[in-house]
Symmetry: C2
Subunit: 267 residues, 2 copies
């Protein structure tokens, strides 16, 4: 691992990882962050595993070349299928979003019934089941793919009847299974927290993979003594592989501030 | 142009073009058809124009190599931005879905107020406005991007409250503009005909780009004397650039029959 002055690198298939960026910037205000959105090939959620691994390796290569000290795979689909490969190939710490969320879910569930929602790719990979069962084999995991949540979040339809009815249709089977904890297993979903909570009721606890991952990044930087002092003030760079204009537009649903500069690199 | 025994080639970014395939197979039952879905890079609707042109050229190259006699660009987004380039580079007839639909819309409108719905890419390109105005500059065109229609169609939510409310939200501005004709400017949309009609009421006529394009293909084969006799019976080949399993699954919402073989090629 490098030194404290190197940036944190993170990638997502598109804008979803900005929820992780938000949390990182909030709890680690001294860190420089480089964000890569692979917008030429988004969404990953419907792609085959081998394709997602290929794209993830290419994204990682770009970020490594920027001299990052730690890599955050801010995409559940990519974390689900490509993390072992990325960890194998590169010499820096690589953190995905699944393990932190799975750990948090296992630690807070009381009835050992955990729900997981995500893209088709994430759910099909069964990565959450595997990770949760490795932590506690007694937990029962109920998963459901929610393909419309990402387009709803990107369209900015985060309240109103369409998103409420969609959430109801996706989440009712999990509510009926009496889960007491639900993992939002897609980095887009935190901006749908309100309609999701509306369907679940107050007794179900929500795990936000963006928050849990950011905490893990903070811990690892601390442990390895490469955290940058809060007072130094972080700078941020955003790259996309296509259509920076649309990224800026959709990012307004995800970020509190307006992005001024987004650079395009080849896919 | 080749001979009658050569196949028709068509491509789309994914499954949407299957609505065009359906119409082609229905009105030209003697023709062999090769369908390519660029599922590794779907959707085109949110990509930059230069990216869509690059992908379209690659798709065309693959189909040309299969010895096709005519190319159908069964994707509105690709037709909107890449048709001039494709026509320029290749020596076979290339048909898009926009011109046939624009022509039909202009011929049936009475009040010269035409609505157009499509992906962000198609609407932003203003290809329908340009084509319609070239045919009749007195027509007023009202366009609206409907990004949620494609994921709804692929999820198979083609009736029920979610799609109805979504259609209402997208189409009300066009209804208020008093359009008497609406072009479904995305090859996914024909499977949403019923909820779309539900919002428009009986006085608005719908233009189905799949149907209009198939008629144009039939005409051009006839004119050039390379149509294959109906009695010969067509054979079909389906290729995708990723995840044939998902293509087969989603295709069930689009095709009357179940696809047995879908081959994967490199993107």
């Amino acid at each position: 691992m490098g030194n404290q002055h190197q940036p944190i690198g993170m990638f997502d298939s598109g804008v979803g990882g900005l929820t992780v960026f938000n949390e990182l910037a909030r709890i680690l205000p001294g860190e420089d962050i480089i964000y890569l959105g692979d917008t030429a090939r988004v969404p990953y959620g419907t792609r085959a595993a081998k394709t997602i691994i290929k794209y993830s390796l290419e994204n990682t290569r770009f970020l490594i070349d920027q001299g990052i000290k730690v890599l955050v795979v801010a995409c559940n689909t990519s974390s689900a299928v490509s993390l072992p490969t990325l960890t194998h190939y590169y010499g820096i710490p690589v953190l995905g979003v699944i393990e932190p969320s799975a750990r948090q879910a296992v630690s807070i569930t009381k009835n050992r019934r955990i729900g997981v929602i995500g893209t088709e790719g994430t759910i099909k990979s069964a990565a959450y089941e595997t990770t949760i069962h490795a932590l506690d084999p007694r937990v029962r995991v109920f998963s459901h793919a929610c393909p419309l949540f990402v387009p709803l979040a990107e369209e900015g339809w985060t309240d109103g009847p369409v998103v409420q009815l969609t959430a109801q249709r996706y989440l009712t089977p999990l509510v009926e299974e009496n889960v007491d904890t639900l993992v939002m297993g897609c980095t887009h979903y935190p901006i749908l927290t309100s309609p999701i909570m509306g369907c679940l009721g107050p007794d179900v606890q929500l795990v936000n993979s963006a928050q849990e991952t950011a905490k893990d990044v903070a811990n690892i930087l601390e442990e390895r003594n490469v955290a940058r002092p809060r007072a130094s003030g972080g700078t941020y760079r955003f790259y996309v592989t296509d259509n920076p204009e649309r990224f800026r537009k959709v990012a307004t649903h995800f970020l509190a501030t307006r992005l001024t500069q987004v650079d395009e690199i080849g896919a």
